[in-house]
Symmetry: D2
Subunit: 128 residues, 4 copies
């Protein structure tokens, strides 16, 4: 399984707030995009996973903010798989603009089935 992946994200006007900055809640949407694109880069599709009856749900997530991002900034998001075992995947995230580290995040997601029961990750998602 691919361990890390980087994507570019352009800050949308709608994502800024009254301070003219990227609203802090939108980083979590970016992290989700990072997870999805890491999966795609590894040759898998989150959509297919769901169609097959598995869902990945957030158990916990957090973010530390160092520097603000503004409208129209072109950001780079690095998504890293820290561990993937049993029913859980731990990711961490780094958001950069140029050389500046703007924010770092971390999440734990759990795999559940259609009945909402925690389920082992499919083998292609698990650490070798």
């Amino acid at each position: 399984m691919l361990r890390e992946h980087e994507i570019e994200i352009r800050v949308r006007y709608q994502e800024t707030d009254g301070q003219g900055r990227l609203h802090h809640g939108n980083y979590f949407t970016y992290f989700e995009m990072g997870r999805v694109e890491l999966l795609r880069a590894a040759g898998h599709s989150y959509r297919d996973l769901e169609a097959g009856g598995l869902m990945l749900v957030l158990a916990e997530i957090g973010c530390q903010y160092y520097l603000p991002a503004s409208y129209d900034d072109l950001l780079r998001l690095r998504t890293i798989v820290v561990a993937a075992r049993g029913a859980r995947i731990e990711h961490c995230y780094e958001v950069r603009r140029g050389d500046s580290l703007l924010a770092e995040g971390r999440s734990i997601i759990a795999c559940i089935n259609r009945q909402g029961r925690v389920t082992r990750l499919p083998s292609f998602l698990v650490d070798g």
Copy 2:
């Protein structure tokens, strides 16, 4: 069927944009809240409607903006059923702050079933 209903909405910080104003796209979320609360005030629940296999989907929607709304403004949204016949309901919307009319909207929603096929509205939603 109840023909109109009014709710209060407090503008959230997250809903403003870099201009410090309520972002224009969020009026459509407000209109949706207006439709749901009009239904609830009439003794029905949109959640139950969906659980029963019917969905109301947007066929068209639009908004005219006269004056901006700001963070923390307390707005009043009036939602009016203009017509409800066959598979379609036409609503219009008025957003006010005090005596000022900030925006007006209009939408047409269609009733579909789980297969995505257009379906007659349940009788309790139809014009007498």
Copy 3:
């Protein structure tokens, strides 16, 4: 001035709703991205425009929905300048997935200055 421009947009998970479809309100965020990228493709920047004291605000906007979009769909958005004169620009929008036309929109934006007064468009935005 460039008259039309096309961008690709991947539907985000956060942009879907309980029906598993792209929520209708998000099309307006897409249209905004289309306007910004058309401006950029013409060699201008909306951010610079605002920094220079001009804002483009929505006077009206609307959308007609023909077919739903789903999570992870790769959409093409075509943004077209219909007219740009005085203080107003009229755009229209087409959202496609493959050959299917999913939605069409139309908006009128007005140019205002920092005092909120309607102001002539800068010459590079006006029809020849």
Copy 4:
């Protein structure tokens, strides 16, 4: 200064995702509403604070998710000031539906001035 405050929040359709659940990122918008309403209940206004040249920005935030929330659920959000000293306020948050604890959050916000410099909290926000 008031130490805790509770508000009710109705889950909006637009806030759910393809799983039919409240999208995890929206809890952070709820937490922000909790902070604003706690301030209001204490007789202050975040809008006035900003108008006076102070902004409260997120230094870090996180959430643990125990049970999902669905469209139209009526949730109770309790916002608690854990500490407020110097330039920082620590809050924690509890989201409940009936007797069920759905999620818990925690954040640290910092007070900055218009130049973006970290600044002491105004005295009415500081621990006695």
